[in-house]
Symmetry: C2
Subunit: 214 residues, 2 copies
DNA sequence: ATCATTTTGTGATTCTTTTCACAATAAATC
DNA sequence: GATTTATTGTGAAAAGAATCACAAAATGAT
C-alpha cells in the first residue's frame, strides 16, 4: 500500500516528463521501463486504485495525470513547516523543487536566536511559537531537521498541535500517536547500506572471476 | 535482506547511544522499543547473521557492537565522492555526521566553473576529472546531487570508472550495470507520501468521530 | 467481416518479510 | 538442588508484495 502510493507519485512524475517531450499516450511498458519496474506492476498499481486505460491503446497521458492528481492530492497546495534552520533545514528551505510540486514552506522554526529572521521570503521564527502557529493555520505537515537529541521533543510538540504527517531527517525513530504518519529520511543509514552492498558487489565480482578462471 | 541490513545499522546506532548512557547489556526488547519494531524481529535479524546472546542475560552491548562493526564494515573508513556542489551537495559536504560514522568525503565535483575551489577542507573539482580521480583512488562510493536531467549521465560515468555503490538524490530512476548498487533518496517523493497519508489520518479521524457520534 | 496482434486487467502463484508459538536454557529464588 | 522466571533462537504460519499467466478487448491488417 505504502509502496503502491509512492509508485503512483513516481508514475505521475514520469508522465509529466513524457508530456513535456510531446508524448500523448503511454503503455504500461513505457512507464515500467522509465521507472525500473515491470509493466505488470504498473497495471496492478493502477488497478488497485481504479485507474484504467484502453486495451491496445494504452493510457492517455493527460487524462492519467488528472486522475493521479486528484487521487494523490496534487490538485491542492500543501503547507509545510520546517523545524531546524541549520545546514539541512536551510538547504530544504531554499530548494525550489517543493513549490513546483505544490508544497509551500510557510515558516521555519529554530531555538537559536541567531537563526531568527523575518526578512527572507520564508521567515525563520522562534520555536516557542510553534504550537500556536500550527494551530492558527491548521497545518498538517512538518519537516524535522534538528539534531537527533531534539527530534523527539519537536515531534511531540508538532503532533500535540495537530500535525498529521512528519518527514523526519534526524536519525532516530520517533514515537508519535497513531493518527500521525512519519516517514524517515536517514541519509547516513542509506550511505551505510550502499556501502554494505557495494562491498558485496565487489566480492561477487571476485568470485565470478575466480569461477571463470577455473 | 536489504531491510535486515539497514536494521542492523540502526541497531548499532541505538547500541552506541545505549553505551553512551552507561548501559552494559540489552534485551531484544530494549532495542525493539527504541527502534519501533518487535523483539522477535530483532532476534530474527541477529539469527540471520549468526549473532547470538545469552538466554535470560540478553546481549552484551560492547561485544555486540564489535560484532556488528565487523559485519557491517564499520571498522574501516569508507571514501566517498559527491557530484554536484549545489544547494544539497554543499549541505552534505559540510555535514559532520559522515566522518563520525566512518565516511570521508574526499572530493566534490561540479561542471560549473564558479563552483570549483581547491581551498576548502574538501576540494570542489571540475567534473571532467571524475573518472581519472575515481580510478586513481579505486573509489567505490558516490553520491549524486545534480539536477535530475544530469543524474543518469553522472551515474554512467561513475559506474564506468568503477563505482559500485551510489546514493542518488535526483528524483529519477538510474540505469546502472548489475554490479552497482543504487539507493535513492527522493525527498519530494517522501514529502508527497507523507502528505498522502496525513490526509488519510485526518479522514479516519473524521470517520471515527462520526462513529462515536452515532 | 474475419483474423492476427497488441495491450490491458486481474485471479492465482510465488517470493519475501514479519509475526507467532514454543522449546531450550540461563539466571534467580526458594 | 529443585522450581520458577525471563529471555533467546528458530521453525511454522501469516501477511504483504511482486510476478505469472491468461482471458478480454481494442486496433489494425487482409
Ligand atoms: N546536513 C546534512 O547534510 C545532513 C545529512 C544527514 C542527516 N542530517 C540530519 O539532519 C538533522 C539536521 O542536520 P543539520 O546538519 O542541519 O544540523 P545543524 O546543527 O546544522 O542544524 C540543526 C538546527 O536545529 C536547531 N535546533 C536544535 N534544537 C532545536 C529545537 N529543540 N527546536 C528547534 N530548533 C532546534 C539548531 O539551532 C540548528 O539551527 C540532524 O538530525 C542530522 O543528523 C543532516
Ligand atoms: N536542495 C534540496 O534540499 C533538495 C531536496 C530534494 C531533492 N533535491 C535534489 O537534489 C539534487 C540537487 O539539488 P540542489 O538543490 O543541490 O540543486 P542545485 O541546482 O543547487 O545544484 C546542482 C549542482 O549540480 C551541478 N551540475 C549540474 N550538472 C552537472 C553535471 N553534469 N556534472 C556535474 N555537476 C553538475 C550544478 O552546477 C550545481 O552546482 C536535485 O536532483 C534535486 O532534485 C534537492
Amino acid at each position: 500500500m505504502k509502496l503502491t502510493v509512492s509508485r503512483l507519485y513516481k508514475y505521475r512524475d514520469t508522465l509529466i516528463r513524457f508530456r513535456q517531450i510531446g508524448m500523448v499516450r503511454v503503455f504500461s511498458d513505457d512507464l515500467a521501463e522509465d521507472m525500473n519496474t515491470s509493466a505488470t506492476q504498473v497495471r496492478k498499481d493502477f488497478s488497485l486504485f481504479g485507474i484504467s486505460g484502453n486495451k491496445k491503446g494504452g493510457y492517455q497521458i493527460h487524462r492519467l495525470i488528472i486522475q493521479l492528481d486528484r487521487l494523490l492530492g496534487k490538485d491542492k497546495t500543501h503547507f509545510v513547516i520546517i523545524v531546524g534552520a541549520g545546514n539541512l533545514g536551510k538547504a530544504l528551505m531554499n530548494y525550489g523543487g517543493f513549490e513546483e510540486e505544490g508544497f509551500k514552506v510557510v515558516a521555519v522554526f529554530d531555538n537559536d536566536p541567531r537563526k531568527i529572521s523575518r526578512k527572507g521570503k520564508i521567515p525563520v521564527l522562534p520555536v516557542q511559537g510553534l504550537e500556536r502557529f500550527i494551530k492558527a493555520r491548521e497545518l498538517d505537515l512538518g519537516i524535522i531537521a534538528v539534531p537527533y537529541f531534539a527530534a523527539q521533543e519537536v515531534a511531540g510538540r508538532m503532533t500535540a498541535a495537530g500535525i498529521k504527517g512528519i518527514l523526519n531527517f534526524a536519525p532516530v525513530s520517533l514515537k508519535v500517536p497513531g493518527d500521525c504518519f512519519v516517514s524517515n529520511i536517514n541519509v547516513q543509514l542509506e550511505l551505510e547500506t550502499v556501502s554494505y552492498f557495494a562491498k558485496i558487489m565487489k566480492e561477487n565480482k571476485k568470485h565470478s572471476q575466480q569461477k571463470k578462471a577455473l
